[in-house]
Amino acid sequence: MNIIKTIAPHPSDYLTATELAEIDHEVSIMETREAAGIEALKVVQDHRGWVSDDSLLAIAQYLKMSTAELEGVATFYNLIYRQQVGQFVIHICDSISCHLNGFPVVLSAIKKHLNIEYGQTTADGLFTLLSNVCLGGCDKAPVMMIGKNHYEHLTAESAIAAIEQLKKSVNDVEGVSP
């Protein structure tokens, strides 16, 4: 269990100027500062991959709300990651249309290929596997979402190919820059 520290970092020391500017924009379109909480969590997550305890403390302080309240919000919503995740988070749809169209076969193939269960991250830190409720791709089931991209009409083979493609894209980039 994470233990929340009582001494918060100063938000402007901890959050970057870009993050602060994006959070300020969200604050500006809402009536109260705390109304921007969810968007602020998403802003920091976009930049850092997940929301650490320090991030949470800094955001709460910046929005002038209690840490406990923001933690209550952060843990309610499944697209906010309160634990470190891999570079790519696989959200596989486990709802009814995907179920009827054989998603369990795709799921087992992904688990076997990456050697992880739901909620786990691969040893190389690249992939985290999570389930997701209906992704709204029911006519193209089974589907999954990785990052901002949706993958449709999945088979065990095409799902693994998509994962390998992402792995290759990372290796290519790393190969170019020393």
Partner: protein, 433 residues
């Protein structure tokens, strides 16, 4: 002409949605112009009431009546200065439902035009689109369309020199099905946990930040430009029955051609399933279906002639819901299907009230037992009891009753399948597993 028979979808372009200029050239923003220039807000309200437009998000509540509950304060009332809000519910998360995605990704300007009309009518100067977090492409396209609308003075101050002022913002959510419930959505928009609120007060009186608020579904709103442009009579005549307008119907499951079709309201289940979705996939037979998303009662092959309008589907024992068929074939296990649905509801329960928080996982436990061949006849009674404990009036919101609908109807229609699981000690559809 497609514009008259397929008003909502005739301009859909999923590969490259129309920009503001292209959309306007093809008749876009004419409805908003008609509303703002030719009518007072009260006149628009009367037009929408007369059109008999009903909510397309699942509940089917008359839109004009919903709007009429927003208070009109007298000029000397201090509350006349208060904000009113319009919120578009684009939190499409009902399993088996993907119709709003088509409108959001395919013709984003139509929604913005619709929101201008709705906001003008209820006197809102601030509006939000509450979009589910997973619809990344829709978010990108909607934001682009909003930016174009500001540049062209269809949003912002003194819209098209009519004196009407509207700020429109996109809010992307961070998940959870319960956000689709309108008071939970309002809490989420206020940055809180998305627990539904107690009603009354209703959002029309005290909603977002405690101010009068209207929450409408994407598809509902998208009807407005066409009602304003083509008139009430046209809207009523599009449909062969008393539920006016068109409906975007869908079909998923193992059918030949799953997808979405905009048809006159009241197309039959058989027309959607056989004429448009091409019938069942090869070698499969129709076992049953949910007519409007996960939280509707099963209907059976004998219901194929039932028109998909609010009253007819209700008479057949289900709900029109979102109008998206989820089709069960004869080689998928109905118990496993209901188990999957209940797992969804148990996971997505917000945990606020006991019948839902405890009842939905309990149903999952029992269904898992039955599906694994370890169920007993008492388990059926326990499930029926749960259906009673989780029904309307005993829960804080409609989530648990929504879970009861497929469960209770499955117990009725697929009783033989449940009994076979219990008697044979295994799932007859997965023998040997």
């Amino acid at each position: 002409m497609k514009a008259m028979t397929h008003p909502l979808t005739h301009l859909v372009n999923l590969s490259a949605p129309l920009n503001l200029e292209q959309y306007s050239e093809l008749g876009g923003y004419q409805g908003a112009k008609t509303a703002l220039v030719e009518h007072s807000p009260n006149e628009v309200l009367e037009i929408v009431k007369a059109s008999n437009l009903k909510g397309r998000g699942g509940a089917g509540f008359p839109t004009g009546m919903k709007w009429s509950f927003v208070p009109n304060f007298e000029a000397n009332d201090p509350r006349v200065q208060d904000n009113k809000y319009l919120v578009c519910n684009a939190d499409e998360m009902e399993p088996g439902t993907f119709k709003d995605r088509l409108l959001l990704e395919g013709v984003p300007h139509q929604l913005i035009e619709a929101m201008i009309i709705a906001a003008y009518t209820i006197g809102a100067n601030k509006a939000y689109i509450f979009l589910r977090g997973e619809y990344h492409l829709a978010a990108k396209r909607i934001q682009k369309a909003i930016d174009q609308a500001y540049q062209a003075n269809w949003l912002g101050t003194d819209i098209q020199h009519t004196g009407f002022h509207l700020e429109l913002y996109l809010h992307t959510s961070a998940g959870r099905y319960i956000c689709g419930e309108e008071t939970a959505l309002i809490n989420a928009l206020e940055g809180k946990r998305a627990n539904p609120r107690a009603k009354p007060p209703f959002p029309q009186v005290a909603g977002l930040f405690g101010k009068p608020t209207i929450v409408n579904n994407v598809e509902t709103l998208c009807n407005l430009p066409h009602i304003l442009k083509n008139g009430v009579n046209w809207f009523k005549e599009v449909s062969p029955n008393s539920d006016a307008g068109t409906k975007i119907y869908g079909a998923c499951g193992r059918v030949k051609n799953p997808g979405l079709w905009e048809l006159p309201m009241g197309a039959t289940i058989g027309q959607v399933l056989n004429d448009h979705a091409g019938g069942m996939s090869d070698g499969l037979k129709l076992k049953g279906l949910l007519p409007g998303g996960a939280s509707t009662d099963f209907l059976m092959p004998e219901h194929l002639d039932v028109p998909m309008d609010y009253d007819s589907i209700a008479k057949a024992g289900s709900r029109l819901g979102t109008g998206g068929l989820i089709v069960l074939d004869d080689q998928n296990c109905p118990v496993a299907m209901v188990l999957n649905l209940l797992q969804f509801f148990a996971q997505e329960s917000c945990g606020w009230c006991t019948p839902c928080r405890d009842g939905t996982p309990w149903a999952v436990e029992i269904l898992t037992r039955i599906e694994n061949g370890q169920g007993s006849i008492e388990d059926i009674d326990a499930l029926l009891n749960l259906c009673d404990f989780m029904w309307i009036g005993k829960t804080h919101c409609a989530l648990a009753p929504g879970a009861v609908e497929p469960l209770k109807s499955a117990l009725k229609y697929f009783n033989d399948d449940f009994m076979q699981h219990i008697e044979q000690g295994c799932c007859p559809y997965h023998r040997g597993h």
